[in-house]
């Protein structure tokens, strides 16, 4: 009897391509995506952190530090920007503290480094005193400040050893008395050589010179986000969106989870189209005054309204239970929610019109939605992925939707700043509806 049952089930599996897809292909697809997100493959370029640098010190030391940061392969140093931001005119202006803060708020750079006036007296202090370097950070990326803080320690150490020498000798003289003239001459001859050696090291490939810094990076990474880094360069992390940090992550996941389940809901509701094909109801409806375009429009409208309701319920729940700040973001939330729900509804119709049976829709939609959710950032924030994966995610409409929600809830962006996201969502919406209408032609007159 058990043998007969085994034969029946194995035969069923052999003849059911959807079941094979769900059993073998979906897990592999997920494994691949998460391996690309978290693993080394797919990182065809080294991940680089964009760092806006504001030099308020304007001394040779600060210039040397900026130069050393530029030489750091894991950083992209920005000291100038377009007037009026990325969408502004092409005239480049130096980045000041206000502009740096705005760049971080807009998500153009996860971090900005401010080299304050008096930097020369702050670096390489052994007493922990002096004005700290400031890292203006976006709390949505908790990793970047840790990485850059560590890199700063390394850069200061490897790029300016002469400074440490001077500081060390100063401390030595403070406690033991001045150097002899002969010692002073030796130091004066040695310091330029040390400086030129450091300049050569700064242009060398990341290797042995980086080793001391790696330890510093680890030390820095151990410190918590807002605490000043201990080490050779005193660094203070200043979150420019600090007050939103706790609820911001909640708003992100409210949107991420809502959009993922919106996709499942849209697929399920759109699947009623296939149920109606099977039951003959579609044939009957199309025999009446209702045409296919009207039918799809009706279903799309309903699915959009349902999607809006689903997202609203999710965010209201987040507001009541997790203190998500919904009420101060209502306009942006409303706009993003309507456009997201409308596009998701169109996507559901597209999937349903693509499939021939409900079982086929179940299999394909599970695969597609989970892959889209992984790529688009519903499962893991895109801004924490590698640049390659971040770019890959942009082929999914849910990535644009989530970017819009992040702009609204994290970056306090005005409605106008949502135009790129809304434009892309409208583009996807039109594409999905057009494809759904095209594929639905097979249910029209034979």
């Amino acid at each position: 009897m058990i043998g007969t049952l085994l034969r029946i089930h194995s035969t069923n599996l052999r003849r059911d391509r959807v079941a094979q897809l769900l059993t073998f292909v979906v897990p592999m697809a997920f494994f691949t995506i998460f391996a690309l997100v978290f693993g080394g493959r797919g990182r065809d370029v080294t991940p680089r952190v964009h760092l806006a640098v504001v030099d308020e010190s304007r001394t040779p030391t600060s210039a040397r530090l900026v130069q050393a940061l530029r030489a750091e392969k894991s950083l992209v140093v920005l000291t100038r920007m377009r007037r009026g931001g990325p969408a502004g005119d092409t005239t480049l202006v130096p980045i000041d503290r206000a502009r740096a803060g705005q760049l971080v708020r807009d998500g153009e750079a996860p971090l900005a480094l401010v080299l304050p006036a008096g930097l020369d007296t702050s670096l390489a202090r052994f007493d922990g005193g002096g004005t700290p370097l400031q890292l203006l950070s976006d709390p949505s990326d908790p990793i970047a400040p840790q990485v850059v803080g560590g890199l700063l320690q390394k850069v200061v150490m490897t790029a300016m050893p002469d400074l440490f020498m001077q500081r060390g000798i100063g401390e030595f003289e403070r406690y033991t008395g001045p150097l002899t003239p002969q010692q002073r001459r030796g130091v004066d001859q040695w310091l330029p050589r040390l400086r030129s050696q450091a300049a050569r090291d700064a242009t060398a490939p990341f290797g042995a010179a980086a080793a001391p810094g790696a330890g510093a990076a680890r030390t820095s990474a151990d410190s918590s986000g807002n605490a000043a880094f201990s080490g050779l360069a005193k660094v203070e992390v200043v979150p420019v969106l600090g007050r939103k940090q706790d609820t911001g992550m909640i708003s992100f996941y409210a949107a991420a989870i809502a959009v993922m389940f919106l996709l499942f809901t849209a697929s399920a509701v759109a699947g009623t189209l296939l149920d109606e094909v099977d039951s003959g109801t579609l044939e009957r409806v199309l025999s009446s005054r209702v045409g296919m375009t009207g039918l799809l429009a009706g279903k799309w409208t309903w699915m959009t309204l349902l999607g809006v309701l689903q997202i609203v319920v999710m965010f209201v729940y987040g507001m009541l239970v997790f203190r998500l700040d919904l009420l101060h973001h209502l306009p942006g939330f409303a706009v993003m929610t309507v456009f997201t729900a409308a596009t998701t509804a169109a996507f559901g119709l597209f999937l349903a019109s693509l499939c021939r049976t409900r079982a086929q829709l179940g299999g394909i939609s599970t695969l597609v939605i989970l892959v889209m959710s992984a790529l688009g950032g519903s499962m893991f924030p895109r801004f924490l992925m590698t640049p390659v994966m971040q770019r890959a995610g942009l082929v999914t409409f849910n990535a644009w939707a989530l970017d819009g929600y992040v702009k609204v809830f994290w970056r306090e962006a005005p409605l106008g700043a949502l135009l790129p996201q809304l434009g892309m969502l409208v583009g996807f919406l039109v594409l999905f509806l057009a494809l759904a209408r095209l594929f639905a032609r097979r249910w029209e007159r034979a």
Binding site: S279, G280, R284, V285, S287, R445, A446
Partner: protein, 303 residues
């Protein structure tokens, strides 16, 4: 008056010719049976009439006006073989939905829904989701959703399939009430006894063509002939075969063709008496639609 006329309807799907020149007419208030084996072309013809299949050739006229393949058939009602309803909606909600799809609004819709609930005998169950309904109740509602907008011609595809005899009777009572109003019905069915008993005229199609059309008497006369069959059951098996008669199941059952009922039956009884046997039972059977159908379409399975 002819309300629906199909002339030389042709339609092929790939290499399969589903309709090879079908012509038929439906009169006002008439119940016309459309019969044929599986794959004969009935469904394609009904779908073409409903505007769901384009014809390769031929014409369809409704109330004397030629229909284009794409135009709405407001004067036509379609009742599909499937229970094409929304299972989670109530009877009333289903009626309202299909009434709306067919252009009814406001008071007219409410009035027609009320009529349909009374017509189907579902008024007391109007607020129940139909998934709890019996097969017969769903069938009645299925029909009602196709006639809400008061079409004068209704296409019924197997409207009584899968229901018990009581529900079947009720459905035909409903259809009779429609006919009393002058509504014309085109009925496709495999229930030949129903077609024989209910339809005024019958059209038999096979291989995409009309192979016979007319009243039952006309079909019988033109195909198997009007010869009846007399069957007698004897008290005991005869000692020798009875002349001119054929033995049936068991040795006591004997049949013979009957042309003249008066003369032939009397002669048959005389032969039995001459053989020293008595007649326990006598059945006189005229040719049925079943015999006509099998005569025309053969006994080969269509799959």
């Amino acid at each position: 008056m002819t309300v629906l006329r199909v002339q030389d309807a042709k339609r092929s799907f790939g290499t399969t010719q589903a309709l090879a020149g079908v012509s038929l007419e439906l009169g006002e208030g008439e119940l016309l049976g459309l019969l044929g084996p599986n794959g004969a072309g009935k469904t394609t013809l009904v779908r073409a009439l409903a505007g769901r299949v384009r014809l390769d050739g031929g014409t369809i006229e409704l109330f004397g006006r030629r229909l284009s393949p794409t135009e709405a058939r407001d004067g036509l009602g379609v009742v599909p073989q499937e229970i094409a309803l929304y299972p989670l909606l109530t009877a009333r909600e289903n009626l309202e939905a299909f009434g709306s799809f067919n252009g009814l609004r406001g008071a007219a819709l409410r009035e027609r829904v009320g009529w349909a609930l009374e017509w189907t005998g579902l008024a007391e169950r109007a607020r129940e989701p139909i998934r709890r309904f019996s097969g017969g109740m769903k069938r009645r509602l299925n029909i009602a959703c196709g006639v809400l907008h008061e079409p004068r011609v209704i296409l019924l595809d197997e409207p009584t399939v899968g229901v018990d005899p009581q529900s079947r009777e009720r459905i035909y009572e409903m259809l009779d009430r429609l006919r009393e109003r002058g509504v014309s019905l085109l009925l496709t069915t495999h229930q030949l006894d129903e077609a024989e008993a209910r339809c005024e005229r019958i059209v038999i199609v096979d291989h995409g063509r009309v192979i016979a059309a007319g009243t039952l008497d006309e079909l019988v006369r033109d195909t198997v002939g009007e010869r009846r069959t007399a069957t007698v059951r004897l008290d005991r098996a005869p000692d020798a075969p009875l002349e001119g008669m054929t033995a049936g199941d068991g040795a006591t059952l004997w049949s013979a063709p009957v042309r003249d009922v008066d003369a032939d039956v009397a002669a048959l009884l005389a032969r039995v008496a001459a053989a020293g046997r008595s007649v326990v039972d006598l059945e006189l059977r005229r040719p049925s639609l079943q015999s006509v159908f099998l005569h025309l379409t053969g006994r080969e399975l269509r799959e």
